[in-house]
């Protein structure tokens, strides 16, 4: 049976009470595990990597939530950790790949998408994933937050420390690139 969703403010209060801290931790994991997983998975592609990053996010939350000053919302704070961890993971991966295969750090994520066991080149959802992976990491992040998570620009701005205008421009150009990619692939 699904647990009812508790507002973030209430979860924070529960977390700060030593008697209910553990319960609050469970509730926060339950509330955010899926959306954070998919956000991370779209960034890092491979399930095992996404799992690793997601666990780190919750462990960091466990360690850092006591110091959370509520200058931002809990959900944007969690997305910030997830985004930072994902970008850091990708940077590490690219460094390794750069050593292994010189001059091939841009295309390897597209290749990773193609290596997914469910990959089907004829399906548009996979073409879309390939198009997304062709974007620079930070544009990919903005596109994913806006398109899939429907995060308002104001929240994104607070989370990423970038003006809403720059985020809108970034999203706009990400969509343009995706459109060009899909147009080429689908001939529409």
């Amino acid at each position: 049976m699904e647990r009812p969703e508790i507002p973030d403010e209430e979860l924070l209060l529960l977390f700060r009470d030593p008697d209910t801290k553990q319960k609050a931790f469970s509730l926060i994991i339950d509330k955010y595990k899926e959306r954070l997983y998919w956000h991370i998975r779209r960034m890092v592609v491979v399930h095992e990597d996404a799992d690793d990053v997601l666990q780190n996010v919750f462990i960091k939350m466990w360690k850092g939530l006591d110091h959370f000053r509520e200058e931002s919302k809990l959900y944007t704070w969690l997305y910030r950790i997830a985004s930072n961890e994902s970008i850091t993971h990708l940077e590490k991966l690219k460094k390794t790949k750069r050593i292994e295969v010189k001059n091939d750090d841009d295309g390897f994520l597209m290749e990773t998408v193609k290596a997914d066991e469910y990959f089907d080149a004829s399906k548009i959802e996979w073409k879309l994933q390939l198009a997304i992976q062709s974007l620079p990491d930070q544009q990919k992040l903005v596109f994913s937050l806006r398109y899939y998570d429907e995060m308002p620009y104001n929240d994104m701005s607070e989370m990423l420390g970038v003006s809403s205008g720059a985020l809108k421009a970034s999203y706009h150009h990400a969509v343009k690139k995706i459109h060009a990619y899909l147009k080429n692939e689908l001939n529409f």
Binding site: K63, N84, A169
Partner: protein, 193 residues
């Protein structure tokens, strides 16, 4: 055809009778017609983009990726286990590193201070604020705490706000594209999408 000719004839007569100019009084933005085609094409492109997004959302909202079956059911336990197993192990590990870091730190400070003290002694025998004796007063525990605080600081980096680099955010976007976007957004909605 005849009716149209008649109307044109009547209009010409009116114009001649009243000396009205043919030009309309309305103003026109500079280079409006020159840039019209380009502006129109951009609008078409934006409309195409919106159609693309609409199609993607309407017909293909499903995610391409899959999570292994039962993954989310066991996630919490695995995180909890990791946190529980991390505590003693990490403490042991940290203790070793802490004291190694503390010893190295004390060594560097003592060496640096002794060297500084030696140089000062040779050149000008002025008062030195930190001496090896002072360093000895700092016990291992304090140094270990310093090392632990530094380690915690490093751990907190991921939870801190990481400002995106606007240059990377707009990577591969030409100045012309950016200008077009700014023109479009200032002329239109606040929120294009």
């Amino acid at each position: 055809m005849k009716v149209e000719n008649d109307i044109q004839e009547i209009l010409k007569q009116w114009q001649a009778a009243s000396s009205l100019p043919f030009a309309t009084p309305y103003g026109l933005p500079e280079y409006y017609f020159l840039n019209f085609e380009q502006a129109l094409l951009e609008r078409v492109e934006i409309s195409d983009l919106e159609d693309t997004i609409y199609l993607m959302e309407k017909h293909h909202p499903i995610m391409a990726f899959h999570a292994p079956s039962g993954y989310f059911d066991t996630l919490e336990n695995r995180i909890q286990q990791k946190i529980n197993s991390e505590k003693p192990g990490k403490l042991k590990k940290l203790t070793w590193y802490k004291f190694a870091a503390a010893a190295a730190f004390a060594g560097i400070i003592a060496f640096g201070t002794a060297r500084y003290f030696h140089q000062q002694h040779n050149n000008q025998p002025a008062a030195v604020t930190v001496t090896p004796v002072d360093i000895q007063k700092v016990n291992s525990r304090e140094l270990a705490e310093f090392a632990e605080e530094s380690a915690e600081g490093i751990n907190n980096v991921a939870t801190a706000k990481k400002t995106l680099d606007v240059n990377q955010l707009l990577d591969e976007v030409s100045n012309q594209d950016l200008q077009n976007f700014l023109n479009e957004s200032s002329a239109g909605d606040n929120d294009m999408f």
